[in-house]
Symmetry: C2
Subunit: 373 residues, 2 copies
């Protein structure tokens, strides 16, 4: 893995970069569509490439439970299995074990949990989580971590952070593929000082990249930004920084301004399936009756396949009829919007105009957001 910083913004901490992996080059800041179960919901790999996606996510917890690592290995790894030739980052599954699985029990050794699918009992160690990701043949691996809830007390977060640190060390020692970059997850709850200390402790171990976990778990925007401002400055300048599971278009712009390089979030794909389109001007809730006979596209300035060919009236009809094409067309638009937003951010960084871009971004939303939200 090679990570180059190509430009930095003068007024903010935003930076333009290039991450080179054996399976492809990733221009940062980057948004990574989420393919939890080895598919970015409703999309084909070719469509994702057409949208400009350079890397996607898959989830270790989900794929470990179904179809299981043996099947993916027998099919030659995740890439041939799902027909995606580009880089794949696999989440460690830590977040899912703590949010989806039942009856989880933590110990120094690892985590015991029941599958959310069939209640079966499982035990995973940090070492096994790395072995799984190597067996999947993922391109970026993530250390197992504990993701504490946003409302736990400081003592819990201290203890949890110490365990995540010891697990990170074991993950580092367990890896057998030095060619596959290993990212660690910086936790620390909603306590800026703990975040700082956790970041410093992880940096002392030394990783290929640094993920910031435990955000977008219910905290408010100000807390989220304060946590980013406490964490990012502790991370090495020459390593990619990945903000996990965040967020809205506004969150992406603000995190870029605070020095983050990589993002993933289910928001564009999940909201699409719930009938919500995200646009430059704000949100469009397609089931609203105001769109019933509207010949307008979701966004008149958008050049995506959906906006070039389909009216809000048709999209609303498909959505009310629960037609698969509704989910496809809304997902297509939302991912296009997210990937274009990141491309616009990168263009502004190339041109040295990120602060102006950021102001224009908010101006559009303030002017257009009311109508359809």
């Amino acid at each position: 893995m090679r990570f180059q910083i190509l430009a930095t913004d003068k007024q903010t901490s935003a930076r333009l970069g290039k991450l080179t992996l054996p399976r492809g080059v990733i221009d940062t800041p980057v948004f990574m569509p989420v393919g939890t179960q080895a598919t970015v919901k409703a999309m084909t790999p070719e469509e994702l490439q057409g949208l400009g996606a350079q890397i996607i996510l898959a989830n270790t917890y989900h794929l470990y439970l179904r179809p299981g690592v043996e099947i993916i290995q027998r099919l030659g790894g995740l890439h041939p299995f799902m027909n995606w030739p580009g880089p794949i980052l696999t989440d460690s599954g830590g977040f899912q074990i703590f949010s989806l699985a039942k009856l989880r029990t933590l110990s120094e050794a690892g985590v015991t949990f029941r599958s959310h699918l069939d209640g079966s009992l499982h035990f995973l160690t940090p070492e096994q989580v790395i072995a799984l990701q190597e067996a999947f043949d993922a391109d970026i691996l993530i250390c197992l971590d504990e993701c504490p809830a946003h409302d736990v007390n400081e003592a819990y977060v201290v203890q949890s952070g110490a365990l995540t640190w010891r697990w990170a060390k074991r993950c580092q020692q367990a890896r057998t593929r030095e060619d596959k970059p290993l990212f660690v997850v910086v936790q620390g709850g909603m306590f800026p000082q703990l975040r700082r200390e956790q970041a410093q402790a992880m940096v002392a171990l030394g990783f290929d990249g640094y993920a910031i976990g435990g955000l977008s778990v219910g905290e408010d925007k100000e807390t989220r930004e304060a946590i980013l401002e406490a964490t990012v400055p502790e991370l090495p300048v020459d390593r990619p920084r990945y903000l996990m599971g965040v967020g809205t278009p506004e969150d992406l712009v603000e995190a870029v301004a605070r020095g983050v390089d990589m993002f993933d979030c289910v928001l564009p794909t999940r909201n699409a399936r719930n009938g919500m389109a995200l646009t430059r001007l704000g949100r469009v809730v397609i089931k609203n009756s105001e769109h019933a006979a509207s010949p307008l596209p979701l966004d008149e300035a958008c050049a995506c396949y959906t906006c070039r060919h389909y009216s809000r009236a048709y999209l609303r009809h498909l959505y009310l009829a629960r037609e698969i094409l509704a989910y496809r067309l809304l997902t297509w638009h939302n991912l296009y919007y997210y990937l274009e937003l990141m491309a616009d951010i990168r263009r502004s960084l190339t041109q040295g105009t990120f602060p102006a871009f950021r102001r224009a971004f908010y101006r559009l939303r303030d002017n257009g957001g009311g109508a359809s939200d």
Copy 2:
């Protein structure tokens, strides 16, 4: 509309034809994918064109109820509404009124029914059904008919057929667009003599094409073929014959041999969403555990997008995870198979080898069908 017969088979009643409409040319025998709610489920129009679809169906009953004719008219008709530039045949809705709607009441004037969506009360006359199809700007219109159940007695079928004939006459008089071909539906239940008489009575009125309705409603294969053999010879040679809602690949081959030119059926698309792939060798039930680690495509000789890129193991994983991509990939394959089957039939008719094609078709299924069915 222009319909040319380009070749006829010497041993059977199969024929090769070309149906020319303002929006496109249709090579017959043809399979028309079903787009009930102004979308062929799970597919985009461009994908359908890529598969070689030359005409699709939409359903008057469904579109009348939702989104309603006013909205489709305001969007410029069905074609711009759904982004499909080619010909569209609209079913009259007769079959749906008799199979889906609640509390239907027939009278000489028309049919009163309650919507299956919200229970609202509606009354439609034959004249209104033609006006709806003209307002949709469909390319082939169908007269309103009553579709009797397959187990009603002869007296009912006689009476019903007489009403369908009087309605057909009113549809003919109600049309205002002579440029849009109007097809009539020949009913007659499972009584060959009534089918003959109904066909003769409809031919006496004179229509642009003849649909054969009321089949695939629960009768056995022998009855279905006997009804076709009673009906088709009564129809004019120089008009297209359309067998409504039928059927399996075997049904298509047998109906072509009996002189049918046009088909539609939800089977390839609906079976796909239920995890069943249709192939040259028979059916593949993708959830079966035998496919769990199979690197094979659905059909090794198939050149469709799904078979070129995805294993049975991956398709099974997607299907068990209820991923939208499962429905897309299986629909893609099944429609490809149906459209290729019709293209193969047409090639054999061009070459004068339809009987040999028909024997080879059954040989493959007999040899291959057992493994995955």
